[in-house]
Symmetry: C2
Subunit: 696 residues, 2 copies
Amino acid sequence: MLDGLYKPRAVAVIGASTKTLSIGYRVLENLRMHDFRGPIFPINPRERSVRSFRCYRSVLEVPDEIDLANICIPAKFVPKAVEECGEKGIKFVIIHSAGFREVGEKGQALENEVLETARRYGIRIYGPNSQGVMNSDPEVSLYANFTFTPMKPGNISILAQSGGVAELLNLNLERIGVGFRMYGSNGNASDISIDELLEYFGSDDETRVIMLYVESFQDPQRFVEVASAITPHKPILAIKSGTSEEGARAITSHTGALLDVDTSTDVIFEKAGVIRFHTQEDLVQAAVAFSRQPPPRGNTVTVVTNAGGPAIQATDQAMALDLGLTKLSGKTQQALRECLNPMSSVRNPVDTTATAGPDEFGPIMKILADDPDVHSLLLTLVTPFFVDNMGVAEQITGALEGCGKPVVATYMTNENWAHVIQKVRDAGIPVFDYPETAARVLAAMARYVAIRDRDPGEAETLEVDADAARKVLADAKPSGDGFLPAADVTRLLAAYSISLARSVRSTSGSGAAGAASDLRFPVVLKVDHEDVVHKTDEGGVVLDIPDAGALERAVAEMDTRFAGRSIAPAYVVQEFLTGGREVIMGLKDAAGAGTMIMIGTGGIYTEVLRDAQFRLAPLTRTDARSMIAALKGHSILAGTRGEPSVDMESLEDILLKLGQMAGDLPEIVEMDLNPVLAFAEPGRTAVVDARIRVRS
Amino acid sequence: MLDGLYKPRAVAVIGASTKTLSIGYRVLENLRMHDFRGPIFPINPRERSVRSFRCYRSVLEVPDEIDLANICIPAKFVPKAVEECGEKGIKFVIIHSAGFREVGEKGQALENEVLETARRYGIRIYGPNSQGVMNSDPEVSLYANFTFTPMKPGNISILAQSGGVAELLNLNLERIGVGFRMYGSNGNASDISIDELLEYFGSDDETRVIMLYVESFQDPQRFVEVASAITPHKPILAIKSGTSEEGARAITSHTGALLDVDTSTDVIFEKAGVIRFHTQEDLVQAAVAFSRQPPPRGNTVTVVTNAGGPAIQATDQAMALDLGLTKLSGKTQQALRECLNPMSSVRNPVDTTATAGPDEFGPIMKILADDPDVHSLLLTLVTPFFVDNMGVAEQITGALEGCGKPVVATYMTNENWAHVIQKVRDAGIPVFDYPETAARVLAAMARYVAIRDRDPGEAETLEVDADAARKVLADAKPSGDGFLPAADVTRLLAAYSISLARSVRSTSGSGAAGAASDLRFPVVLKVDHEDVVHKTDEGGVVLDIPDAGALERAVAEMDTRFAGRSIAPAYVVQEFLTGGREVIMGLKDAAGAGTMIMIGTGGIYTEVLRDAQFRLAPLTRTDARSMIAALKGHSILAGTRGEPSVDMESLEDILLKLGQMAGDLPEIVEMDLNPVLAFAEPGRTAVVDARIRVRS
């Protein structure tokens, strides 16, 4: 629990200063100006008082108990100050000072020293190199932070890995008159982590929405755990930056190539039910709506306008974001018609025309508020000079009060009508500058509801022989970069009852030709040599070999091609399957977040389409189904132009087994089943080629 | 020329009224309050004066010449008023009154009557049902409009098909302190069109940017003509609404299916060099930047920050929009390093750290302004309390003045530092609320430059026999819905030297089998019957027939399948080409904008990928090349994994020939070459199947 940090009864400011440009002055002044509800104790051996507060030489001299110390002194003095905090029994320390890990090795050593001291005394450290915390709760009113941004009570909490971004988010809330609840930007995060702060904000009853900005996950699994417990009750709206990094280049397989920097973030957020945004503006606007309006009960929007054009724009944007347009029933349309002039449109978007006044808006809002088909309302209004616009605002807010549906608005007007907008805002209806913004906000709300209410499905364990697979791994001799030999791949898949196309393997060319007599022609010939990773590129694959004679010739050619390698190549002859639909599947270690399972559209378009779905293991059958359904190429699998669907269950089964494998065989860092051929006939689905890489 | 409309020397207000809630009052009041530079003549037979202006019973009584009449009387009186305007010699009339075409037939008749009268006298009509016009030129100061939005001189002109949107755009400019030049929203557009207004704004020297909102194109070809003449000199920034319409459903072929409602707008804007936006906010923000900053000389951005996090966000957004990050030379980095503290980062993004003050910002801005690699600057700054932020702003604006590169900024600060932001804005540097906005604006500027400077290529006419094709069309007997029989399709393509896979056609099954002896097996058998449009779906295609016996059996089966039709089916036997890469090509009438030529990725992924490029005919080879290069599937054609490229020139040739066909054979409304197989060997490219629909 971080109550001592966010709800301290008394605070010390170590390094409180009279120099107005110092952090020690700023923190004290911020606490004072925002009227912190407990006592403030400045610590400075060289001053008698700062800002009329009596000064102490050390926290040890302070007569009262202190919950929180703010440290604002140069880095090298911090260890001693923390030691004294320990002796004093202080349990929370914010280190505002910089000069630690962020400046290199020496700073890192200092940070370690501080941490060690803190652990000794059971002190929790926030920072170092941190802006601080704020809690706008009027019972606390804690501004333990060195910025200038305002603190106004609200129910949005702000958590950001960058102080600059935290400030920006707060400033942009303020610009539209919205406050916040709690605020945190924890700098180097040496002890108290973003996850811990998130958990604390999640447990705060007054926090209705959490805005989160992350640059990197410290512990992705912990993040998923913490966030998953919060999102069913309150939305977490997040931005992850650094999406344009050009990392992850050296990845060898397809599964990896389809996985850009952003994917793992998406997978983590998906698992945790976090709503992702790509711009701060969208984040701020959605947060405002979530903080003031209830979530919708469905994903359609009803647009009401008195101005035509802007409603079209709102509708376009809503459709582009997969919101539906509510189909108003005949009854509702009739009821609206009775309230409105004949020039009005009573279909959605409802256009009252510019002449509609309070007498029209009151009843139509009531009709829409009462209609169960109406999930959310988007009002886009102008203020015609011949209309009682204040009366319209009063009627709208009155009729919609407590209707249980989200309502957002845009007013196109000028400052003469600011009081009208204020009236609407005071009723909790967010008013945005542009109709498209209102549509985007409603789309985000619908997205939250869809994620919150999704059915996770039941856990399901398919029968596999994990022990056999473990034995394969224990005995395997992977290549230098960790790839398993083909024979081991075959045995490992067999242990999980994942069918490979029938094949035989031989260490000599002539042997290959002979051994293939059991297979049905046509066949494929593939080289199997640890130096040859991209077999096709290196001439190590011959497809569609019609008969034994052709196979012998192909083997002879390949013998020539791969002659002179240190080890002679082995060969695999495999039945050539035709007519299946290609997918690619795999699993991949997700850098601390667990293991991601993947399915994508296969064939030559794999890289063009970049059509792949990733989920963190373990999977339920519902997960597996939704992954397949979310593929752009789903229609190809389901059958276009009268073709039958492929056997979807067999694909789901492989996904589930990959999920189990992720748990059973943590040594595997990457597996690539490419292609997998799926057929309409049940049970024919087969992996044609597979690669497995283990931790090396 | 519309000078009489936008720069009238004297104006009349017909229906000027003392009733403050009437349009007749509003227009007069707006003209008066904004201090129109010429005389205003109110026309109202029932008043002696309105707002102290002497009233006249009719324009005919006014002693002076009048250039522009504003009509604000009920619709039914408008024809007479226009008649009197004609007698008076007035050349421009704005009809603010509603009650015309928009209310149905009776209104349409009234509108026609007005137009006829106007034509008789050479009067140009603006409206009816129109908001009006504004011209902020201080020499004119014309507010002939009934809204309340402000008029502040600027160099952005606003043109919108919706009065509500025009107002919104203006209000949002005002909110950030930016004015406009000319303003038009012409209601029913019965005479003076959007295109004509656009042309006029284009010719206005003081207009530096045009903001355009269109709901539908009245005359797409004219629009392209007018806009194309403007965009090389000044940007047109546009929004087209109505993109979510669910029209265009009954389209039969692939070319059509790939063509959603939005595509024709994109094609039109592309041809005209118009920059398209999808939200009004993006439009407004970009317009502000274009109005104050020069276009960039290249498409990379240099980000400078004193705050870390926000720069990452700006960079992410810039990368997502295909802006590059300027690679700063070693020399520049060294020069920056000498000005900045050791904690700073001198790579792009340049991070000065929060302590940098005027002494650092002056020199580094000068270094970046002088570096030819730096195309545009994005500043994202906080205002640390210990820094002379006004000094920083002075140094920045001083160093960058006249640097010839676009500069945009975001300041994360609060109202205490409003004077700093104002200082930056006064220097013409737009300051946005969010770093992502700044990145989007620079991306739009780079997009404009890329379009403005694109090389259209030389016109090129390939040798074709258009007369032979015309004869084919003249003699053809298309099906009820306009499709040509297969034989005519073959002949028409032959006239344009577009190769079809070799085939023979026969009206009887046995004939087909016999005639096929000239072809090389394997072959394909296809039915040719006007009732059978989707041959594959209806069992009218058998692929990969290995020999004559199999062909005979296939024909026999098909005879059975299609027995009992009113006309017996014909058959086409065609060589079965394997190993080519599939594309789909075509042309399509673009509802008034001309003819669009298309190329897309073919095969089963056609509809999944929706990977198609459209351009308006005629095409240059440069156009054809850029269409192919812009395909997502381009890498497949160019050869992946060591495969050779297909013969691109042959694909370009077909595109050019389709372009010529669009001009030569306007009867063709749709052509679908699907698939076209392209091979690495020059000249082997062949159309496998083709459908042509003519105007029916």
